[in-house]
Symmetry: C2
């Protein structure tokens, strides 16, 4: 059972997306057809292994990136050598796309955490489109605003949720597509990375996970999680949030 679930999760996260697939989605669908064609033509596919750093925080930004398969973490390193993880991105995500309106440098570093197929595109094409195509600019503005709202949400959750609720919230987000009230899923990354993404020390994460199991009816076995009552988990978690499940951001 656990092995099947792991395999299912692996297949879901590794299902490779087509190059330029992001062009059909928000905000890129508002690009002019000729601009889309040129963008896709100038796409440069690359394969990277786990641990490869694609760019560092404050590097001059020339290109933006689309994740066909694999996972990427966005991070910043402090002067003292510690690392803050700002986000972890699944296949289908785009990153570095706002650098041209953020001073022309990347606002974070990007590192491969699971072998990746990446396609990069010239950032200058996006910048030109923003200057020449008002309809796209408005959509891109909404896109950048939505990213800011997601960060606001992160700050809210870090302010008010305890460790067990924060882990519960992370797991609940993996259940958003579920139609029933019970499910079995597996954690998409190793626990140390989830802890870092949630801004927790590993021991805080372990204690939070233990408390979460004690307080809800969840059973956690390695990376596999059985949730017999999603609504109960939502009640436990969402009391420390300004939204209700299933949340939009």
């Amino acid at each position: 059972m656990a092995v099947d679930t792991k395999e299912r999760c692996r297949n879901e996260t590794l299902g490779a997306r087509a190059d330029g697939a992001f062009c059909d989605g928000f905000p890129f669908s508002k690009m002019r057809p000729a601009a889309k064609t040129r963008l896709i033509k100038e796409g440069m596919p690359q394969v990277f292994s786990r641990g490869h750093v694609i760019f560092m925080h404050e590097d001059q930004a020339q290109r933006f990136y689309f994740i066909k398969s694999g996972w990427i973490k966005l991070f910043r390193e402090t002067i003292g050598g510690d690392e803050a993880i700002l986000d972890v991105l699944p296949p289908g995500s785009v990153f570095g796309e706002a650098a041209f309106c953020e001073g022309g440098v990347y606002a974070y570093g990007a590192e491969v955490i699971e072998n990746c197929e990446i396609v990069s595109y010239p950032l200058s094409l996006l910048e030109t489109e923003t200057r020449e195509n008002g309809e796209f600019t408005i959509e891109f503005l909404k896109h950048v605003a939505a990213r800011g709202l997601a960060r606001d949400k992160e700050i809210e959750l870090r302010s008010v949720q305890n460790a067990a609720q924060r882990i519960g919230c992370f797991i609940l987000r993996l259940c958003r597509e579920e139609s029933g009230n019970e499910t079995t899923l597996c954690l998409p990354w190793e626990k140390s990375l989830i802890a870092a993404r949630l801004g927790m020390a590993p021991e805080t994460f372990s204690r939070g996970l233990a408390r979460l199991q004690k307080d809800t009816a969840m059973a956690i076995n390695g990376p596999v999680i059985e949730i017999p009552d999603i609504k109960m988990l939502a009640r436990y978690t969402c009391v420390a949030c300004s939204n209700v499940f299933p949340c939009k951001n």
Copy 2:
């Protein structure tokens, strides 16, 4: 000495700004002259007392706000009744201005924390300007992106700084305009609010403040803080940050 310093701080934070002063600054300086004139003409001044809630999270957004004098906190309330403070804004700040590209609702509540003179303006005028004036749109895009970067910074600091460093960072930001290496300043708000702004429980804040005094040469007496060596404070704090003092965000 302490009283003089308090009085000086009070005068600085209460120096009333002129209505529409924000129009001369980024990103609003790129509005067309006629749009600026219309905006200022439709400005509605109001005076609010401490505790007044100007709007709540997810209220329909009709207007945006300029703080002439006083302080405002931006917050969200959880279903369980806890509060997360997203930001605390000084005189001269604008808030609610991005709501038209954030789904037409406010992304936070706004509450007066020190008696305020506020001027509000129709959000629709900003939205029209965004649709009709490409030069303004680009500037507004940069403005929204910069707000997102400030949130990224907040997440980074909450991930890697300990409580003493976080308080030190807050104090250091108050020293950014100092030309020398020593200063005396007073905390702009009461300690419980600073703790909430930094995402800390009051007791964590107290312990952090005690540790900060022990680890650096600072002397804290009520709201008055004497810093004999700003560079030393920066070394202590900025080791847990990706920027160096004086930082931009």
